[in-house]
Structure formats: structure tokens, C-alpha cells
Symmetry: C2
Subunit: 420 residues, 2 copies
Amino acid sequence: MTLSEPRTTQETPAKEGVSRRALLGTAGATGLVLGAAGAGVGYAAAPDGATPLTSVGADEVAFHVKHQPGILQGLQARGHVVAFDLAAGAGRTEATALMRRWSRTAERLMAGEASERGDTGIALDAGPSALTITFGFGHSFFARTGLEKQRPVALDPLPSFSSDHLDKARSDGDLWVQIGANDALVAFHALRAIQKDAGSAAKVRWQMNGFNRSPGATAHPMTARNLMGQMDGTRNPKPSEADFDRRIFVPASGSENPAWMANGSYAVVRRIRMLLDDWEKLSLAAQEQVIGRRKADGAALSGGSETTAMDLEKTDANGDLVVPLNAHARISRPDQNGGAAMLRRPFSFHDGIDPDGTPDAGLLFICWQADPLRGFVTVQRKLDRGDALSKYIRHESSGLFAVPGGAEKGGYVGQGLLEG
Amino acid sequence: MTLSEPRTTQETPAKEGVSRRALLGTAGATGLVLGAAGAGVGYAAAPDGATPLTSVGADEVAFHVKHQPGILQGLQARGHVVAFDLAAGAGRTEATALMRRWSRTAERLMAGEASERGDTGIALDAGPSALTITFGFGHSFFARTGLEKQRPVALDPLPSFSSDHLDKARSDGDLWVQIGANDALVAFHALRAIQKDAGSAAKVRWQMNGFNRSPGATAHPMTARNLMGQMDGTRNPKPSEADFDRRIFVPASGSENPAWMANGSYAVVRRIRMLLDDWEKLSLAAQEQVIGRRKADGAALSGGSETTAMDLEKTDANGDLVVPLNAHARISRPDQNGGAAMLRRPFSFHDGIDPDGTPDAGLLFICWQADPLRGFVTVQRKLDRGDALSKYIRHESSGLFAVPGGAEKGGYVGQGLLEG
């Protein structure tokens, strides 16, 4: 049972931010595993006496990078998103101190170290496990801190969509933190540390948990699969594409954004409930008509493989379009939306069952873009008018957050805003 | 980022039930990863053209084994437990058909195959990922199926404990299913398949989710750690111990159990909420006094390492016992409880936050024993009278289930009961 694995990088491989330490860990672990594999026994000490970290644990993401961690990294097996509201009486001073504490904690935990303020010990024994901690500011943050003039226009409230069934108590918030890791205890440890840091300055407004496939669970260089069983993210923009940065990140200059958002991005966060009992009653063929792609391999119904371009005009023997006009994958295509693109980086969620026995499960949708109006809003408006999938999903919460660029060495996230 | 890992087997290594297919997968994957490691690229095809499964995915547990799977296997990263009640009007005939369907589904899914009845596709691309599905019968099952005479005495209701705050709606049930896997989508896929199989014969009574550390997240041959940050399971009985089988499994003959329970075990399932906000206010030293062990390495406060025997008499300079009389680890010792022993195989749980902001998190306690009165009840009675930990936990639900031995080839779980 001692196995080796390539790491799952899915559609959004890291362009940056994986430290040399993790790579060094790799070589050490590989050699040891080979020695122990035949015997099928436990762990061996490294030559220098230290126990080496193994695959999942050794992955380490750097905190001080151009774009905050948790945007470009591959999907993680476990995630938490949590929104905070500043406490009554807390303002810019308290927020500044909090962002300093949070940044310090993020830097330490992402390096596999303990937090400075009464570490809970939950992550003891484990490596960083690709932990990322990402911070954002919501619309309401700016009035509470007297920073209205620094509020980006892009944070103006999203329009309403006919499919929205939003719970205000689980939407929005002054501050937003996204935590992801390939180990559930490492992620929970970070969540508790972030909550402890909040102290009397901020209170949790809402909090949600999610998950993705474990690294190594599949040998396919696959797109993620969601709880409807569909591949999800096939057409996600790729860092290798020429216009990727322009679409996903705020430029350092020359945009309508305030200067403190340079290299930042905007996150739209939605709890999208899947009506799985209804969905699973559909035949496979009916599900594929709704999506416009084959379930097994994600190929468009017009043929080919997952990456083959969709033939929007192709008709069958009866003259009907093989990819229906209301198919989700047709409507959401960037070339059907003026080039709109967002980087989707979701988690699935499953919070048990409702009293009537239906699963409280779906997609913790998180997407990233330089401009929400040209990204999420453009696509969602189109979907809102005719997506065949809309019968099987329900948007239950919504948040929009300004996520500044990564902190400089010695600095903290949001420093340009809070000290600007 | 292409890494290798030893598999985490923790305290309860499998004695049986890992198929040759998984081991063959190992060799194949290892060779390929070595080839790809330097390049840092994705996945390579196996020589025969098939894509090999990788570490986590390749682990496969056999369904037809002496003891049901999910008892002796190492802790899994993701788990679901779900209880069903037979539908009104359903009796022995419907229950028999259901156990046949469930067993067939468990066999297929544990081998990485699709279910026979409208597979959802959620596990497509992934290997079995150490999936186990385990079935049990609750006290109420027997009257509903006219099988009262076959009901084991060991299923008599557990006594009440002063620390119980039990929610009846989340306790007990006619039927119980435990699902575990090292991939969250594989586990959810199994849960949905089991629910679909239930059809009109049974309805979900309650359902809970849990998790453990991911394989490879740590390089230590460690005992599990819980959400209080404590090592949990240090004194778990080990399959290598002479009396392990006698304590954990019902013998094939010579006990008070009905014949259909041969090679079976009894599972006690409790949702133990941890009052983490209170717990985390304690200093590290205070927490260690409550437990009686050091947090970092699990060693008894009397010294040594995790496996060093606890010195119950050792005193400090003031003459006080270094392991307090009410320390959890002292009170729960088998040698303090007439040799009582149970195999604890829990998941942690975290279901977000309560309206007051406190985390709804703790231990999904699952323990296995040949006799609940000599296992769980003996220890819990002792804890109930003086465990220092009791201030920081709350038992919120309870179930007791008879888990028969594994199904024979061509047979199904519970056949000896339902056709006996």
C-alpha cells in the first residue's frame, strides 16, 4: 500500500508560490518510499534523522507573492470560507491591526509553523499540505473604516438575478477569508487560528465548508467533477493564455481601480445548492442535453474530446442542434458573452440532509476576475435568461469581495488600502 | 510537485481485505512516477495504454472478508454515517431485498465500479480510494421485521449517562451504514448510491459527515489527532495483540450471541460535540492536566514517549500525582476498567458555526467491541463519574448497532439473520 503519485494540478496550475522547501521534500520522500515499499511497513527516518514530509503534507505555497495565494493554485481537497463583520466600535485602527495579525498567521501557517497566539495543536505532525489563506474586503468594510473614497466601483452590489434565493445572513460581510488545504485538519487549524486572531475586532458573520477530490485519487489530468457528476471547469481560462492576467487580475496601473488593488482580483462567492434528487431522476441523455457535454469525458455533444472546440452549428438527422440552445455549456461560453471570462475555483459542499431527507449539497462557487461586471455578471445574466441547468440549482447566498495583491515581505495584506 | 508517500495506516492496520489489484497498481504507479518526477509534468499512460491509478485512488479494500470492511482499515480522510428506518409497511421481505441491493452496490463501488442503478457519475475518474461500506442493524429493526427472537441481548439500550444531551432524532435507527474513503467525492458517490438503493423500502433517519487526516499529510507513524489538538487512540487495541479478536469480534461459536453475529462486532456511534471556545481558553499546561498526556507527542505526563507506560503513582515535588486522578487518559485505561477494550475508529466533524458563532465541531465517535457492556459502557460509566474532560464535551447523539460478519461470495450482509 505504499504508493507514489503525481500531484493533481487540474486546470489552474500554480504559476508561482511553491517554495523550494516543498521540492526538496519531494526528493527525500521519494527515496525513502522506494526503500520501504516492498516491506509494506511504516515510515523510515531520513538520513539526517528528521522524518521527511510526504507528498500531500510537503506541498508549501509562499505567502509573499504578487497575487494572493489561493487563486492560481490547484484545487484543494478541503476548504473553508468565512466572512467577518467588524465589531461595533471597531474602525480603521482595529482593522489595520487585524490585517497585520491575520497576515502574520497566514505566513506562519502556510509555512507549516504554529500560530503565535495560543496554537491549538490541531495541525501538529502535518506539513503545510498546500495551505493557502486569502483575504478580501466587502462593500460594507469601507464605510465602517472611513475609507469610502478607496472603495472600488467594482464592489457596487451585484444585480439581482431571477434565480436568486439569497439568504442575507449568509451573504456579504466586511471581511472575507478563504482557506484551502489538502488536509482537513490543517484547514480547520487555520480556520480556528483566524477566528482567534479576530479577537474583539471582528465577529464571524457566516462560515461554510467545502471539498474537492483528494490529490492522487485519480490518475487522469482531469478537470474537476462536481456533485452532479459533471466535469466542471473545462473552459476555465488558463495561465498560459495571453489574456489571462488581463482578465483575472487588476493591472498595476491604467485601470479604474484604486491603486491599492494593483495585482488584486475580485471574488464572487455563491452557495449554489444542487437539487440532486431532481437531477438524479433525469436519464444520462437528458442530463447531457442540459449541460451540452458528455458526462463521462466532458466532450461537447458535437463530438471529439473534452478539449475539442464545441461545434455550435452542428445538427442531427432531424436538423436539430446537437448542442441545444439552452445547454449550460453553450450559454456560458466566453465567445457567447463578449469574451467575458472568470477563473472558477470552487469547492463542493455537503452539509448533511434537510429535514425532508434531501441532501443539502452543491457547489461553493468561487470565481475570480479583474472586473465582476465583465466576468461573473455578464455570464450570469445570460444564464439567468435561458440556462437549462437553472431548474436544478438554486443560488442561496452571494458575496463580492475585493482581494488585493499579495503582501510584500514585512508587509501585510491590504496595507496599501489601510495605510494609503 | 510530484511526490511519493507511504500510506498512513495509523493504529489499526488492515489485517485483511486489501486486494492484489491495489498492490499491482502500486508497482505500476511507482515506476511511472519515477519517470515523470524530474520533468514535473502530469500523468503518463501505463505501458498497456491504460492510465494507472495513483496512490490514494489505487487503494482497494475487498468486500467479501471475514469481518466487514471499515473496522480494521486505517482511518479514512472522509466519512459518512447514515441511519435509515424501514418505511411504513416494509418488513422482512423488503429488508432482505434491500440488504441484497446494498451489498451488491458496496461490492461494486469498493472495486471502483459504477453502481447498477443509475450511477451518478460523481466518482468517475477516481479509483476506489480505500472506500469501505459497512452495514449494521439497530434494536428497532428486529420488531419491524418479525425477527425479535434473533435480536442480540447486546443491543439492549445503553444506560443513560449524566453527561448525555441526546437528540433522539439523530440517534438510533433500524439500519446503519458507515461509508469511508480517502476521497470526498468517492465517499459522497457511495452515500448517494446507498440512498438511491433504499428506494421505497427505507428512509433516511439521520446522516452525518466526518473527516480525518489525508494520507500523506504527515510523515509520522502517528496516532490520529482530534480537533482539540490531542492525539486520540494511543491506547487503542492492536490487531497484533493476543486478545484483540476476542475483545473486538463476536466469536464463531461459544458466546451468548445469535449465530448470525459470528465474526461480527457492535458499533457505538456518538456525536460528541467539543466546546472548543472553552477548551481553547485553557493554557497548554491546563489542557495537558485534563488529558494526562502531553499534547505535542502524546506521552503520558509521567514521562517517556507516546508508547511509554503511564506511571499512575508518580508524584511531583509537592507529592501530587503528575497524572491527575481525573485525567481522561488515566480514567479510560483498560487496566482501570477490568480490561475493557474497544477499538475506536472515529471521524472528526465540523458542521459550520452555530448562530452564536461557536463551531459545531467535535468527534464522530465510533467504537467497535464484541460486547458493548464490557467495552463502551464500562469505560463511559467510569468517565461519567469523574473525567476532567467532561466539561469540554457534550454527547449529542447515540446509536448502537449490530454489525454482522462479512458477506460470503455470492451472499449479502445479514443473510444469516434474514434467511436464518
